[in-house]
């Protein structure tokens, strides 16, 4: 099932399918290693509900939900 990353809840996991959007935010996200095929785990949400913290390629990344919204992920069953 395809979802955008911002729709994932803490503890959920997904594989990146596509990065939509354009401009510097897209470039930054790609530079940070979020490309098609990357495995993403949602670590937590900030106390005020936004931004979110994810794990990708062995490191932790904090993303605003608006940024997470341009990342399409294929949901995986949580192990």
């Amino acid at each position: 099932m395809l979802k955008t990353l911002n729709q994932l809840k803490p503890g959920e996991m997904g594989i990146v399918a596509k990065i939509t959007g354009s401009g510097p935010i897209r470039s930054r996200i790609i530079d940070m290693g979020i490309v098609a095929g990357s495995k993403i785990y949602v670590q937590k949400l900030a106390p005020l509900g936004d931004p979110m913290e994810i794990k990708v390629k062995n490191f932790n990344l904090s993303l605003r939900k608006t940024e997470a919204a341009i990342i399409e992920v294929q949901m995986e069953a949580t192990s």
Binding site: M13, I19, S22, G23, P24, I25, R26, S27, R28, I29, I30, D31, M32, G33, V35, A36, G37, S38, K39, Y41, Q43, K44, L45, A46, P47, L48, G49, D50, P51, E53, K55, V56, K57, N58, F59, N60, L61, S62, L63, R64, E67
Partner: protein, 792 residues
């Protein structure tokens, strides 16, 4: 500077420990400046190793080398244009996959690269094993292990650098982008080869042109024959876009990451990409949904107290030291222009510069701790939602909070923001945070014009107004100065570290030295300039001949003494009778001690002053009288006459100082701008005070003291309060408007000097001054007019 045998550039991701390695290599032999025209810092250091002199250039920490971010562009241009002999790429071993993405971009630049696997201990703790040799083989570069915060592996790293330089081991690296892209790269390269004047590596240039890199495209366009190459690249890009149905730069990035993950898979054993680390466990508490904010505010409270409460002690010592120095010099210089310049101009200016030093040292102690431990990113994570509401980054909260103590650390603290636009907006609104130096103005005017029950509300309204204006201005600046798409937030949350003493001390020292060098000189120069405006011209035409009147006072004092003290005792002068002079000095000691007590105790206000001197109410005086009943009346008589004379002279001095200031350039300026500030209900005296307040906000109060002939106003402002209340130019409304104006307009020379240093631009400094004065005028005008309408 010695001749350099080798230039080494350090490149790496943020949080890779690059700066620690840089400090380990260079020690104290380093220098911080700016790259020309931009706010990006240029850090260089020197090292002598194996009979070679190294120049080490610390490039800005970047994740990539695209033209999107200024830092990345600067790093790339240094490598391309300055052509360092060797690039040392610092890699965070615990985060190798993403770090290697930058590595292959460096390798594509075709300069010799040495890889430093940093923090290898951390990655081993996480259960990873890295095969250094395989990595070295795959990338065609030497690999050295380092542990920056334990200063390990630095010699091996330098040896590898020397070895790579000697073998001229140019990287033989080439990434295969796949047949479709490779064909196009070859096509573009062929077009490039026809040109001779291009100095960039041809393959790299071809890749960048296909990636639609705007910086490279405009560089190529500027050379003759460039248009032809661009046309070839455009066609190739269009073809590729059709094949991949995606932006070509994304395809390139994906191919690079694909390549990287291949290497990563072959080189690292025991990969567990999503393993929960110790940092994750710590974060379960530190950025917890419920505890995250309280912990953040507790840490902010500690930081604030560290900088301002703890900083107040050394600041006091420094201020006392400066006061002592200025007294000492005062005592040894003859009255006149030179003394005034040295004491009021130079020492005053130097005093201003160094009095901020303790706060800056402590601020950077705090910031270094927050950044080196890794908490800074968490602070931004926790606060981002709230700060974004006003268009700022989560990290902007910390500098703005510090602004309530002092705007200077606030402005300097804005450097924790990586994005230049966020940094600039934060710097420009930070002065709206009401700093502690503005408090004396508020207390003076509130105490004079508002009853105690309103004082709290008045103070609160000012602080609140500052915050509201900061929010509005931040929003306006974002919207109109930097329109367009917002900058990405996406921020790495580095692993928690125990910081090293060395890196913290280096950080503190570096910032303070920069402050003293860059900001200090400006502060000093402007302080002397303002001193000049306040002290000149010195030949003011006074309303009366003060010298003559003072001489008359002295004369009548002498006559009175002769008549009432000396003649009855048949003396020539006071010193002729040892008993008399001893008694007089005893009396004056007792009186002075009593005055000091009164001031400290503040029991009665200025009710019983010197008038009641002849009544020996003090037990000590009665004792003196009993010991020497014959001489005592004369001694007390002398003391009374003498204190009357002193009071008279002091009053004349103060009147003279007031007239001198009124006639000075600053005073004339006050008169000159009176029409401009009249709509706010201000008169020229307030104008002069506000003008003098450019040096520092406390100066507003002391200038008023001088203008109202109160002499040096320090703690005891009751007299000045009375004078202000009696001045018809003042009303509670005007006092409030004056406070509003003081809140908003340019905080002080020191803050502006720091703005200059931090933005590296006179233009932005001038803009900050202009907008703050304009905003102060507009808001004050509004408050005054509304106040008048409401009948205040």
């Amino acid at each position: 500077m010695a001749t350099r045998d080798l230039t080494v550039a350090l490149a790496g991701n943020p949080n890779s420990g690059k700066t620690t390695i840089f400090n380990n290599i260079t020690g104290a032999r380093q220098h911080v400046g700016n790259y020309p025209g931009v706010t990006v810092e240029k850090r260089e250091g020197f090292r002598h190793f194996q009979d070679k002199d190294f120049l080490i250039v610390d490039l800005p920490g970047t994740y990539s080398l695209t033209a999107h971010a200024l830092d990345e562009l600067v790093a790339r241009n240094v490598i391309l244009n300055d052509r360092p002999d060797i690039i040392v790429n610092i890699l965070d071993a615990s985060n190798l996959e993403r770090n290697l993405y930058l590595t292959i971009q460096l390798l594509e630049l075709e300069r010799p690269v040495v890889l430093a696997l940093n923090m290898a201990d951390m990655s081993e703790k996480m259960g990873q094993k890295i095969d250094d040799q395989a990595l070295s083989h795959k990338l065609g570069a030497m690999v050295v292990r380092t542990i920056g915060n334990r200063n390990r592996g630095i010699d091996s790293l330098l040896k590898a650098v020397v070895h790579t330089a000697e073998t001229r081991n140019k990287s033989s690296f080439s990434l295969d982008y796949g047949p479709e892209i490779e064909t196009k790269i070859t096509q573009v390269m062929e077009a490039i080869q026809e040109l001779t004047e291009i100095q960039y590596p041809a393959r790299w240039l071809a890749v960048k042109l296909l990636e639609d890199d705007q910086e490279v495209i405009s560089a190529v366009r500027s050379i003759s024959g460039g248009e032809k190459i661009l046309a070839v690249a455009d066609r190739a890009r269009a073809v590729l876009k059709n094949i991949f149905n995606e932006e070509i730069k994304v395809v390139f990035a994906e191919r690079r990451y694909h390549f990287v993950s291949e290497i990563y898979r072959q080189v690292v054993v025991n990969r567990n990409e999503l393993a929960q680390t110790t940092s994750d466990k710590l974060d379960r508490i530190l950025t917890n949904r419920i505890l995250g904010l309280p912990i953040f505010f507790a840490i902010m409270w500690l930081l604030f107290n560290l900088v301002f409460t703890l900083g107040a002690y050394p600041q006091d010592w420094l201020n006392n030291g400066v006061a002592w120095l200025s007294d000492l010099i005062s005592a040894h210089l003859a009255d006149g222009d030179l003394k005034s310049l040295v004491v009021d101009g130079i020492i005053g200016g130097v005093g201003t510069v160094i009095s901020f030093l303790p706060q800056i040292l402590l601020l950077f102690l705090g910031i270094a701790l927050l950044e080196d431990t890794g908490y800074m990113a968490r602070a931004a994570f926790v606060m981002d939602r709230a700060m974004r509401a006003i268009g700022l980054h989560g990290k902007a909260f910390i500098p703005l909070l510090l602004g309530f103590g002092c705007n200077i650390p606030a402005i300097m603290g804005a450097r924790t923001l990586e994005n230049p636009q966020d940094r600039l907006v934060t710097i420009m609104v930070a002065p709206l945070m009401s700093c502690s130096a503005r408090l004396p103005i508020y207390t003076l005017l509130t105490a004079a014009f508002f009853s105690e029950s309103y004082a709290g509300t008045v103070l609160f309204s000012l602080y609140f107004l500052g915050i509201v204006l900061a929010i509005i201005m931040a929003w306006i600046f974002r919207k109109f100065l930097f329109p367009g798409e917002s900058e990405p937030f996406a921020m790495e949350m580095p692993l928690y570290h125990i910081p090293t003493m060395r890196s913290i001390l280096t950080h503190m020292w570096e910032r303070s030295a920069l402050y003293l060098k860059k900001a200090g000189t400006i502060i000093l120069a402007v302080s002397i300039l303002v001193w000049f405006f306040i002290s000149y011209p010195s030949d003011v035409s006074y309303s009366k001949n003060f010298e003559q009147i003072k001489a008359n006072t002295e004369e009548s004092f002498q006559t009175a003494v002769t008549e009432k003290v000396l003649e009855p005792l048949q003396l020539e002068k006071v010193e002729d009778s040892r008993d008399l002079s001893a008694l007089i000095s005893q009396i004056s000691d007792i009186k002075e001690a009593k005055d000091a007590d009164k001031e400290a105790g503040q029991t009665e206000a200025a009710v019983d002053s010197e008038d009641s001197a002849d009544l020996p109410d003090d037990p000590k005086l009665i004792e003196l009288q009993q010991v020497n009943p014959e001489i005592y009346p004369y001694a007390i008589q002398y003391w009374t006459l003498d204190s009357e004379r002193k009071a008279e002279v002091e009053k004349l001095d103060e009147e003279e100082a007031a007239e001198k200031l009124a006639g000075s350039y600053a005073g004339r300026f006050g008169h000159l701008i009176e029409p401009a500030i009249q709509p706010l209900g201000f008169d020229w005296k307030m104008g002069v005070s506000l003008f003098a307040g450019f040096t520092a906000k406390e100066v507003v109060v002391s200038t008023m003291g001088t203008l109202y002939s109160m002499g040096k106003v320090e703690d005891d402002t009751t007299e000045l309060q009375t004078a202000l209340v009696e001045d018809p130019a003042f009303s509670p409304l005007v006092a409030y408007v004056l406070m509003v104006f003081s809140l908003i307009y340019t905080p002080c020379v020191a803050a502006m000097a720091v703005v200059r240093r931090e933005t590296n631009s006179w233009k932005w400094t001038a803009f900050t001054i202009t907008y703050s004065v304009a905003l102060a005028w507009i808001v004050s005008f509004g408050v005054y007019r509304i106040g008048l309408l409401l009948g205040y």
